[in-house]
Amino acid sequence: MRSPKESQVRKLPESGVSRRGFLQGVSLGGGALGAAVLERPAEAAQSGVVGPGEVSITLWVNGKEHELRVEPRVTLLDALRDRLGLTGAKRVCDRGTCGACTVLVEGKAVYACTTLAIDAQGKNIQTIEGMTRGSELHPVMKAFVNNDAQQCGFCTPGFVVAAKAFIDEHPNPTEEDVMNGLGGNLCRCGTYIGIRKAVVEAAKAMGGRNA
């Protein structure tokens, strides 16, 4: 669930729910969330409803601005894959269970399949494509290659992105830490043994610093 703190930084589309209106709804605390939800349709009527047709949005992805038109129901994942051609993030469960769609939003690992594209506006989005510099692989990617932490490769981009976010917060992890930190991603081929080693190795290569 999105915390109120995160909601504060959320920049909604012009015609969306107003920030103040939304904060009024949640300011009474968790116990009043039901009331907040009930309050929202009335506010929406006042401020105009987004969709159901396409709306223009702007996404900042890998340091570049992209203007696109999507329906409000389009997920960030589908916008990235089908509209922007950034197909590194994969759609597997499509409901926030497997992590194959992981991207970074403001540096945090996020399931792009359960984030709406319109909600990702105004935020710094980084996909796996943005982690390479030219043909130079990111240290996490190199470690995945060295430790054979991949087989079919379909879960790999999600794991690599999640691992990067994990190392940013835990610059000197043990394998035990990796097991606790990367529980949000699934692999079917069974590459976990290599991933445990790869993430520890990548963190070392990154010098125990955030990179």
Binding site: R73, R81, C93, G153, V178, G190, G194
Partner: protein
Amino acid sequence: MPDYKWPPKDQRRIIGKPVNRVDGPAKASGRARFSQDVRLPGMLYAALLTSPYAHAKVTDIDTSQAEKSPGVKGIQIISEPGTEIQWAGTEIALVAADTEEHARDGVRKIKVKYEVFNDHFVKEADLATAQKLGRAKPSGEAVTGDPDQAFKDADVISEGEYGIPPITHCCLESHGQVVAFDGEKVEYRPSTQNVSGVGGDLAKGLEIPAANVHVHQDHIGGGFGSKFASDRWGVETAKLSKKVGGKPIRYHHDRRTELEIAGCRPAIYGRFKVGAKKDGTIIAWESKTWATGGFGGGGLNANLLPYVFRDVPNRRFNHSAVSINAGGARAWRAPNHPQVSFLTCSAIEDLAAKLKMDPLEVFLKNLHYTQRPEVYRAQLLKAAEMIGWKSKWHPRGQSGRGPVKTGLGIGIGTWGGMGHNATERVTIHPDGSVVLEIGSQDLGTGTRTIITQTAAESLGLPMKDITLRIGDNRYPRAGASGGSTTVGGTSAATRKATLNALEKLFEAVAPSLGAQPDQLVARDGKIMVKGDSSKSLTWRAACAKLGVTPIEATGSNNRRSPGGLIAGGVGGAQMAEVEVDTETGIVTLKKLAVVQDCGMIINPKTAASQCYGAAIMAICGALYEERILDAATGRFLNAEFDFYKLAGIKDVGQIEVHLDMTPEHDARGVVGLGEPPVIPGIAAIANAVANAIGVRVPRVPLTPDRVLAALERRRA
């Protein structure tokens, strides 16, 4: 004709080295393209309407509202009125639209009328009801020796009932394709294990010549035996493409549909009776099993029970195929073997407990009934050493006081793994570049890597100088990747093709080196005269002698005359150490020791990955995975990843792999490794749990509720 045999072990430079997989960087960086990543100009998106009913008849389909829905470009009815549906998830209609969201809207606007029969049967474990309903088809009795007399002669008879439910393949890239069909020719981008063969399969469905289908696939996001055919959704998407003027259409299953209809591993349940002498020698075996692979039922080869110990002299086998209203089975990594390994090894472990013997002794005692006693003996002893059997094993249920119990268990397996037929083409260009082409596929097993290693070894070049092209049916034909046949088929074809090409190169350059072609060798990027290192040409200089004409050569593997390059037939043993919390019923895998027989190993790194991955799949099957069908509605209740549980990175404990790599193993040539290590793990874990808690949990997965229920029964 060149001598194709593998170079002696001490002379190999690249074969046998743990090099990184060649497509690793593309996969780790997200650049690798899968079928789901294909985007073509003018491409439409399709969504599928499926039946919510397990047994019904379609009486009417009204697409008028869907046709008017925004963005919808075409609709293909798959199950016409009058069609009888036998499982939930059956394909009803496909809608193509400009966006996937619009295609899904279109699906929602199709009105289907069903005559719902409400007589579906999905309780696969319930043989009595299946028999009453006429849904169980006996496949006859097979008797060897005199089991009745042998049971009379036995000192101990152990009986047990065990069951293993269906699990699905769970390919992370769901089944589907991008396909464009203009009425004559087809551009086909499937997710397939069968690049060379799937085009012909699609052509059959479309009633066009096979040569009209062009198949291309760069990467496949998991197959595990479920992706050989073009499938109904492939054929129907192609027909829909034709309907919309030949535009490409992308369709892949959503997760629910993927789990419902894209294949499963059949369930097998059974009652077992084992008779033995006091010293642990098994003399009699009886099994009554039933299996289901969906509406078609599920067969079982009598030779598979007892598994591995197949020469028990007195045995009786009975089997029934149970038909249920659920999506059908497909080959699942080592078809039927993990199930019969679990059933057989459970029966042996229970026998050992009844004899009050160490099960390792009982397994060792009966190895003369197996095809390879010496292999299994060495493997069991190795696995025992890796798991610490001597110091840690205790008699069943005697794990000491306290709620957390520990236990050890054994599982064994066998597989073939002989390489499939395959042909490769090698082109050596006058500029020195080398291109290999083969209509194979890399499932993530490392096929690209082992082909490149084999070619580099044969040509005396570094791997980076080899360009490999796979994944296209315009390349020479290779077998489908199933049954652990790919590594043998492609490596042998590569060896022959590269040496055939090299022979032609030697002929072309021999005069300039003042030598005969058969005096030349290719090594370290040079063509040189054997025994005279002063006479040599660099690879590039040698190839320049070709003038303007490249060398083209092919090489084929023929499994009927493997020529010493490949072999089949392996054994494997695994031992598990578990911890069971008897208050919560939670089983924790501490360690799995994997010992696997195989032949010459081209790449120990990717070979080990096969073992780790297979072990993890077995852990999933032992502890987490199960298709749960709802008796009331006939639907697959947990057909999403939130409730269909797979192991995560923390759930798989420690896995230690030992690959047998003696000179004798090496001399056999290449043997496939995809299936074998997935077989013994479930048995090992289930036996370890029985050893820990003192009672058999009769069904896997060993979920907390089942563990607690088994403990409850023991107390009662």
